[in-house]
């Protein structure tokens, strides 16, 4: 009963407009107090320190910094330009560039918000000016943005790894194939839609433009590729942990920003300040969730629930279906990273009891979180797109639906063929 009451309090505060981390922290404090009294509250300090004093989590600000530096120095714009020369000739034109742009940006960014905002701010004005379908322009950017946490690096995976003590490196690798498949399906969708209904995308024909200048295109794409190669390569070959890769990636991004972009001291300071702001707000959510999971721990709710579930002798598919359903519902009402960190302490013993592969589940969970990022009223990617254009939120939501369905389908694809996630990690060095 108590967990339900606390959860309702949390939901009430969140929907009422209290900031997400404060809503989680308020619920956690209430939970701890009701469970352990004032004495219980005395553990807050240790739980906070124990949660945040983590080398693994250090990767969060470092990957944010890497993406910010590339974005602020204008290197990300050059990538979009370079990609658009090649990709816009496909049916769907610049809408395809949105997807490929998001995919490439995802490989240096661990955040869906940064990806949607980074590509969105560059792409949106051009899309609207050239008369692309408004809904699909918004939808492809919001949907494409979610690739940020599926294609490594991924902040969601770093946090998942921290809570479940799974290897973040393996999680990263597990996301690659499902990520690329999602990209392919997104592009296929846009291509088909453009062929069926040509009005959604004006033709970007080769006759209107000079042929692709490959040297220039290579120059636009090379620096980015370098950063991606070094960070992901060093993780794959076991040379560096994700945190180390993030640090090296940031250093290289700075070099790339100076050489190929317009990174000056003041631009760097802006990137750094943006990183500080974003990482503090993200990690405060994580901190609040650590308090919440501490409360669940002293309450024994997680243990009770998993014991109860095991008594029900639920089959594994039924359990997975229940979990998927749970996240779909929660995704509508709770902020996405928040969902993950609140539910994992409860879910973790159940996953272990059912002998569910934690790496595989991590990828499935990321897909489910992506769905949450696209569902109103709290889908964060919807708001990101909403904040960079003058249209209505309803248009964004409608445009997002096809992409939502593809991600949803990917959950079941992974369920049927788990090797899509587990194969690459199994090949890794170490």
């Amino acid at each position: 009963m108590l967990p339900l009451v606390v959860f309702l309090v949390f939901l009430g505060l969140l929907m009422g407009g209290l900031w997400a981390p404060f809503s989680i922290a308020a619920a956690a404090l209430l939970y701890i107090y009701l469970e352990g009294g004032v004495f219980g509250l005395r553990a807050i300090g240790l739980a906070s320190w124990g949660g945040l004093y983590s080398f693994t989590l250090t990767a969060v600000p470092l990957f944010l910094l890497m993406a910010e530096v590339l974005l602020q120095s204008g290197v990300a714009n050059r990538v979009y330009r370079g990609l658009s020369r090649i990709v816009r000739r496909l049916p769907g034109g610049l809408l395809q560039t949105n997807i490929v742009g998001c995919a490439v940006f995802s490989a240096i960014s661990g955040s869906s918000v940064a990806t949607a905002a980074g590509i969105g701010t560059v792409a949106m004005p051009q899309l609207l000016q050239r008369g692309y379908s408004r809904k699909l322009s918004a939808g492809s950017l919001a949907g494409g943005g979610t690739l940020g946490i599926l294609i490594p690096p991924s902040i969601a995976m770093i946090i998942y790894g921290t809570f479940t003590e799974t290897s973040v490196s393996q999680l990263f690798m597990a996301g690659i194939i499902p990520g690329l498949m999602t990209v392919a399906l997104f592009m296929l969708l846009i291509g088909v839609l453009a062929l069926i209904k040509p009005s959604i995308a004006p033709r970007e024909t080769a006759t209107e433009e000079p042929p692709v200048n490959w040297t220039e295109t290579a120059a636009d794409l090379l620096p980015f590729s370098l950063v991606i190669l070094v960070t992901l390569g060093s993780i794959y070959f076991g040379i560096a942990t994700p945190t180390e890769a993030a640090a090296v990636g940031s250093v290289i991004s700075i070099a790339v920003g100076v050489i190929w972009g317009n990174l000056s001291w003041s631009v760097f300071l802006t990137a750094l300040r943006n990183t500080t702001r974003t990482s503090a707000s993200l990690l405060f959510i994580v901190l609040a969730a650590f308090l919440f999971s501490y409360a669940i721990g002293i309450d024994g709710f997680g243990r009770d629930l998993s014991a109860w579930l095991l008594e029900q002798e639920l089959s594994k598919p039924m359990l997975l279906l229940a979990i998927i359903l749970l996240y779909l519902i929660l995704g509508c009402v709770v902020e996405s990273i928040g969902i993950m960190v609140i539910t994992l302490p409860v879910l973790y013993p159940i996953l272990l009891a059912y002998d569910i592969d934690l790496i595989w589940f991590g990828v499935v969970l990321v897909l489910l979180i992506e769905l949450g990022q696209l569902t109103p009223p709290l889908g964060i990617n919807l708001f990101v797109i909403q904040s960079i254009w003058e249209g209505k939120l309803e248009e964004v939501v409608q445009g997002t639906i096809p992409f939502f369905l593809i991600i949803f389908a990917m959950v079941f694809v992974l369920w049927t063929v788990p090797e899509l996630a587990t194969w690459l990690p199994s090949l890794m060095v170490n």
């Binding site: 929907m15 209290l18 807050i44 300090g45 080398f55 250090t58 993030a246 990482s279 709290l378």
Partner: protein
């Protein structure tokens, strides 16, 4: 007025320190890899100090995240509240946040105090008195509380 100037200075210093912590994290970890791969050597403290920097960056970055409205919130209900009631309702939300921050601050202070009293040092190469990095937690939370109080007094600012 003087109070406000002092507060602004504190907020600016806190944010700058958080920036610095993130930059230090990057340099420290990158240096460690460089030493390891080129000279088969190690700083021996990189992991530990990077994690200290993470705690510092999170807590000291929080006041600016609050002041610049970077924290995620759902505005669906807020936007439906009539303009005349909105400041009052916002104040109610700030009061809730202040309560949360005040409780956190109280127990964070207690925690650091107890670490200092018991003279706990880190297990690493350099035996750091653990209360020093831990002190960033109550410092940041205290300034966050101040930032929330500032909001409470002037809720009209963009939230």
């Amino acid at each position: 007025m003087i109070l406000k100037t002092i507060a602004n200075l504190l907020f600016a210093a806190s944010a700058r320190l958080a920036d610095l912590a993130i930059a230090a994290m990057m340099v420290l970890v990158a240096l460690e890899i460089l030493l390891r791969s080129l000279f088969a050597s190690s700083l021996l403290i990189a992991d530990e100090f990077a994690a200290y920097a993470l705690v510092a960056a999170t807590f000291l970055g929080l006041p600016i995240a609050i002041r610049e409205a970077a924290l995620f919130r759902f505005e669906g209900l807020l936007n439906r509240i009539p303009d005349s009631w909105r400041p009052l309702y916002e104040r109610f939300l700030y009061l809730l946040a202040i309560l949360v921050a005040a409780i956190l601050l109280t127990y964070l202070i207690q925690f650091v105090e107890s670490s200092a009293r018991r003279g706990i040092v880190s297990h690493g190469r350099i035996e750091v008195p653990i209360w020093i990095p831990q002190l960033m937690m109550p410092l940041g939370m205290g300034l966050s509380l101040l930032a929330l109080i500032e909001r409470l007094l002037a809720p009209s600012g963009k939230a």
